[in-house]
Symmetry: C2
Subunit: 146 residues, 2 copies
């Protein structure tokens, strides 16, 4: 059981942008190089994060990526739930399971997953960034807001 | 995020054997056909379940598989923890993540996973088998023990 690659990349992008200076644009190539990620995978994730309004992608010569400052308040459980494209921990339909419709496991797994998300919602994006870096972010944030 | 195929198959085998008559041996081919599973995958899982003592595999003409009756008391969280070969929800080392050793996400995911297993441990193998079938199992179990 592991997070989907899509979610994994999404978290790294959000964390990377959280730690970047708010007045500095980050490029896709910079992230791809930093995390050794295939550019095409990364672009799909960035498109999604941009659609969600969690990051801002600006085209053009001085363009690049930056975090929407409000995203620092995102709860990790909500991020995971949004980015994971599987909502079930087990696939009972492909191939159709003999126990389908007559099994209490799926419901138990579903409430277990909810318990996981609820636990993860105790943490915000702001919290999981390293403390020292976070101090920097706070002071930059203040400067940015001033 | 989904359970590994190995765990998925393991749960189905345990549930199938839970619902089978205790005096009737089940064959590998029967399970492979019932769940449309590749025989070689299935054999790996069965070897593991046998080593764990959760099932009994008997070779020979009248051989086959049966559940160790004590396995009905296995807690689902413990089953998942034993069969999942990944202990971490995210891989921070391949490739090595820029945040490695300086990131609070991994710890948060780990405690989230513990919360999931603890939740799943509220259910036993005995509980997730369909109630009607379970009634049958109980009476069979009594007959078997008599």
């Amino acid at each position: 059981m592991q997070l989907n690659k899509f979610t994994d990349i999404g978290l790294r992008v959000l964390m990377y942008l959280s730690q970047s200076r708010f007045d500095q644009q980050v490029t896709i190539d910079e992230i791809a190089t930093t995390f050794d990620l295939p550019r095409n995978h990364l672009i799909k994730v960035i498109t999604r994060l941009n659609k969600l309004g969690w990051i801002k992608a600006t085209r053009g010569r001085n363009g690049g990526l930056e975090l929407n400052p409000e995203s620092l308040q995102l709860r990790i459980g909500d991020i995971l739930r949004e980015l994971e494209n599987t909502t079930e921990l087990i696939n009972c339909e492909k191939p159709m399971c003999r126990f389908h419709g007559d099994c209490l496991l799926k419901g138990a797994l579903q409430t277990g997953l909810e318990s996981f998300y609820a636990h993860m919602n105790q943490h915000r994006l702001f919290d999981i960034v390293n403390h020292n870096t976070r101090e920097k972010i706070i002071s930059m944030h203040k400067t940015h807001a001033a």
